[in-house]
Subunit: 311 residues, 2 copies
């Protein structure tokens, strides 16, 4: 009997072109995505919940310095790291989110702790960190978050007023650094999780779509689970994740139809570059993006593994 | 010729009963609501925009110590004031939001400044305040925010682990202190604005639904403008404001039908106490709430003024 479990993850979208990645770096990305998606899939296959699976995959991506989340989070305007994350489960619509947290090893774990142990949904800044310290969340010093290529990215822009979404190997590359996962477990429950370091050189405590329930992260067993990556401001204005859910619930669209309309039509019309990973209650998976590429991986209902970077 | 302008405001919902308000206090509320709604209406009538009108009404409520926003913001766990606000216009879906800002006289003005002068949508904490200082936003010292009955509310709970949503004159009273406005201007543009001081004795940088685009605040000329007040966590999970918009856009519901379903059915089923003010592109106004009362006022298309507190 086929177990009805499935999972999809992303490691960010943007101007990701084969010509911009060395074969060695490409292999590193492929390996990291493969490990991350399998960590979640293993949990699902052993009877774990979709929340645990989404968390495990996102933790794996947060621990990898290649992605803009957790350890690999970009530098903000004062040379620190401010991270956002959210998690949501689709049976009772419980969720937790944190914004602008510093020195938290795995912001997605903190978001899960908010969901499970607090009466609140969304905690910000030092208050969120304080909640984490009281609830056994692991912290790391600044050295842990020091990643050479992130530091170089920051040096390139730190004396300017500009910020970048995840400025990487080449000036031509515009990348929306975020990681995320969506999963369906064998009990029929959906979950979504997203984590990000935001924009290089960001100022003013900027918060993107990742921790906003309905914008960057959403899960509902009636419809779908979604984790987004892209130009956060436009994803917030478009309430992207809940829009896909509403198109399914209120218009009867399939997951694919809803994702296609939102990512390839509605977002394109407002200049909202990026993509998302989506899964519905039947285990259908969609990985749409309107940018050049999106780091992504999935394991479908039949156990087929996909790990992709480019269009 | 009747000018097609209309406006509605709220000053919070909750266990607001005639038996809990003295006639003098009731009159103060009625007067403050009347002044606030007329400030916005005057702007609309003189050809101003719905954004300006919504801002003016919310500023009026923020400046009044009766309401939990701006000057009357409740005390947090360390005896300070942390305020959230958001504003959105319905023609191009531009929006601005701030969370956990301190000493800002009118958080809604700061949110509007984020919308108009920043490339971002959502700024949090000290970073948001810094943005405000660079953009001419008015600040006030702690004395300005000292309101005797708020301080007493805080003293009642400060040595406990409990927090309250806007604990007021009697223990029986549970109030969701938030202010907000929605407006339609003579150019056919909708706008929504919301501002709050959050929960008395709140800890951990808690953020409610007010600054979350799609949850507590939303505007779209195609459908409606919404400003919510209630148990923020449940309003976030339910993506309340955008849900009403989607029910109109995707199911063809009227504003009233959509509001009724969300406030009296969907929110009630998850224990989401509160209410909202809503206006559609034709100027229809709805002021639904599932709590005992909601401070509210409106001026409809015919210029009829309503100022109400109880059911």
């Amino acid at each position: 009997m086929t177990k009805i479990v499935a999972i999809a993850i992303h490691g960010g979208a943007g101007t990701i072109l084969k010509s911009l990645l060395s074969p060695e770096l490409e292999l590193e990305y492929i390996t990291a995505l493969t490990i991350a998606v399998n960590k979640g899939y293993l949990i699902l296959n052993q009877g774990g919940s979709s929340i645990e699976a989404a968390e495990a995959s996102v933790v794996s991506l947060e621990d990898c310095p290649l992605f803009n989340a957790g350890r690999g989070a970009v530098f903000n305007a004062v040379g620190g790291h401010e991270m956002d994350a959210a998690i949501m489960e689709g049976s009772e619509l419980r969720c937790g989110a944190v914004s602008s947290v510093q020195n938290v090893k795995n912001p997605v774990r903190l978001a899960k702790s908010v969901m499970e142990k607090s009466e609140h949904v969304f905690l910000g800044g030092e208050g969120a960190a304080e909640f984490g310290r009281l609830n056994g969340i692991e912290f790391q010093n600044d050295d842990y978050f020091y990643v050479e290529h992130r530091y170089q990215q920051w040096l390139d822009v730190k004396d300017s007023d500009s910020y970048s979404l995840d400025h990487s190997v080449a000036p031509a590359e515009k990348k929306f650094g975020t990681v995320g996962a969506v999963a369906l477990d064998m009990y029929g429950n959906l979950a979504a999780a997203t984590s990000t370091g935001g924009m290089t050189n960001k100022k003013f405590g900027r918060i993107g779509d990742s921790p906003i329930i309905g914008a960057g992260t959403y899960a509902n067993n009636k419809t779908c689970a979604i984790s987004c990556t892209g130009h956060g401001e436009l994803f917030i204005r478009s309430v992207v994740a809940y829009d896909i859910s509403c198109l399914m619930e209120y218009k009867g669209y399939s997951l694919k139809h809803a994702c296609d309309l939102v990512v390839y039509d509605k977002l394109v019309r407002v200049g909202g570059e990026g993509g998302l990973v989506a899964i519905d209650a039947k285990g259908n998976i969609e990985l749409p993006f309107n940018s050049k590429g999106m780091y992504r991986a999935s394991v479908d209902l039949e156990g087929n593994v996909k790990v992709l970077i480019y269009k």
